[in-house]
């Protein structure tokens, strides 16, 4: 269940993900859960602690006690920054010390409107045409698709390490690291 998007919006985001990083012999952005990454980011404050900074030091994938899933607590200022960035300043004086800020949520709602309610049901060529037409939104969406595909899976995307596996990237290797031979040889 998405925490920020409506089910219909989530379908549109998934359809856009499928055009941006399609599945082939390997999973694409849909299978990697990229829509969940974006939904979890836009809805970061539905979680406690908010899903902004994953924990440290180790994920457990290469040893160590897994702690990535325990997100950092935010202090007062961190929360102000990330709420403002995600939700927008919404006319609140405490968020507008340098003027109004348009939030990511608002940019997504506007972008989704530009893509159209019927986006998920269109053929691929028409979806691409609309994505290319949404010049203010598609570059933002693509950045987030890349983050969801190739970022740590604790943020909601890169499911089963789909983004890392197909490019043969090990990801976070601490505390194992790489041997001197792995560093110095082809």
């Amino acid at each position: 269940m998405p925490v920020f998007f409506t089910d219909d919006e989530y379908r549109v985001i998934e359809a856009a993900c499928a055009r941006m990083i399609p599945a082939d012999a390997d999973p694409g952005a849909v299978e990697a859960g990229v829509a969940d990454y974006i939904d979890g980011f836009l809805g970061a404050f539905r979680f406690d602690p908010p899903r902004i900074w994953a924990g440290g030091g180790f994920s457990g994938r290469f040893g160590g006690t897994p702690t990535f899933a325990a997100f950092h607590r935010l202090n007062h200022w961190d929360e102000l920054a990330w709420r403002t960035r995600i939700e927008g300043s919404l006319g609140l004086p405490e968020r507008e010390w340098n003027g109004p800020v348009t939030g990511l949520q608002e940019r997504y709602r506007a972008g989704l409107a530009e893509l159209g309610d019927d986006f998920a049901d269109l053929d691929g060529a028409e979806q691409d045409r609309r994505l290319k037409g949404a010049e203010g939104f598609t570059p933002l969406l693509y950045e987030h698709v890349c983050e969801g595909m190739y970022g740590a899976p604790e943020y909601g995307g890169n499911r089963d390490l789909a983004g890392w596996r197909y490019i043969d990237f090990a990801g976070d290797v601490q505390p194992r690291g790489y041997s001197d031979e792995e560093v110095s040889r082809p």
Partner: protein, 565 residues
Amino acid sequence: MSGPAAEFDAVIVGSGPGGSTAADILTAAGWSVCIFEKGRNHLIDPADPSRLTEEYSNDEIKYMLRWFLGPDPLLEPRTFRRHEGEGDRIHTGEVNNLPSTVGGGGVHADGKVPRFREDDFRMLTTFGPVQDASVADWPLTYADLEPFYAEAERSVGVAGDSAANPFAAWRSGPYPMPPGAPMYGALLTAAAAEQHGLHPYAAPTAANSVPYDGRPACNNCGFCAFYGCPIHAKGDPVAMLRRALLSGRAELRAETFVSEILVRNGRATGVAYLDADGRRATVTAGQVILAAGAMESPRLLLLSGFEHPLIGRNLMFHFQTYVMGKLAERVHPHKGRSVTHVHDDHLVPDAESRAAAKAAGLPWFRGGMVEHAGPAHPILEAKLAPWGELHKWIMRESHMREHLWGFCMQGEDLPQPTNRVDLDPTVRDMRGFPVARVTYYPHRHERVASEYYAAKLEAVLRTAGAEWVAATTSPYPDSTDTVGYLSPIATSRHVVGTLRMGADPATSVCDPWGRLHDVPNVVVADSSPFPTGSGYGPTLTLIALAIRNIRALCGTTPPAPEAGS
């Protein structure tokens, strides 16, 4: 006094390499110190300083996209313009964000810590003046600083090969540790560089190659530059901070913003600050150590009403020349400690470069240390790739990561009084204080040197087997796109020179011992005093300078090498 005021022998503004060094030296001399840091503490547990925290991680989102080490550019923006003619600013947001966190810039640095050369301290005498630049000698020599360089290398723990670099200044002893494992790509470009008569060598690195100072050896995880080290194999500045806190004479106050240095009758009496909850308070101290970095230190002096006309002027970065190419093999830049090889040849003018300078109407030019390196991580790579059917093919082929390798030259940036930090007239941080504004445009020297050495580096890269090569610079001076890849804002985190030191109060802000001419019980202990910027990273030099100046302040001498390490 009102509020939770306390008396300290010294207050230290900033917990980066300079402030941590000052805390270490002063507490060892028996002083009580209070260290103020406006950023968060992810580095060390003040209640049990022997325990290093486990908050750093191999996480591209957290470090490269979400400002985990701060400052958040929404909360604490800076502003930028190339020159006054552009109006108040052309950009608000991220401008050269060195970390704002306990440990400062030392946390995110990949730990390349070269010394400067002898001539870096004698630029005016050695090379002579350049029109429209304020080239100056330092008020001290390399020989004056050498014992403190040696102490700094023992303090943070530096791995290096003292015999490998023919351009290195003389040394009183070897590095504390041997170099770590060389990266495969660096072995290829180092071999090619040698064919071109250059002299690549193992980069002096503050990352342990063997266990050192109670911290483990680096395990080559590859998340080095811009990341905190999950296993604390990077030495700087955790080593100094831990010693200071273990002394029991240092108090660390994170998330605390110093808003004013308090002055009465020409003497600093302490500082005013806002704590984590926004409460205002003051603390009194006999000395103030200013170590907030070359952006924030002048900002604090200006916020405090200091009036020396040179405060903030002669701001320098490094003029970075990037020469990258596609190698046939996969060189896996994500395995290793970011940079393992460098060469210094382009720091030393020769007959050919002098002729090229003359032809360009300059008396001389210098480049900088050249790092052999490639980009390590996939989110950045993916954003450069297109979306659609080609995306996965491009990511599998990985021309822009696994096959991309080359050079970054940290070119010397000549000082110019017009390049400066001042207070923005209207933009504020989240606490309501005016932010730092950068006015910066490079001198022609940097651009001429960059073009000259880029051609040489392109030839080296072709010898290494590159199928194509491309060169660019940061800053990219004639662009006004301040958020794209070719921005007029320097990405170099090597920021120096805004509180110039010298003997003459008319031409310098602090004296040869880092003391403000106007208020001599304020000692600057970061990279702000540098009169010139060199083509080497500033960290080890600012640590050595801080050791020298703080030892002079408290009257202690360096321990013998055996006792120090």
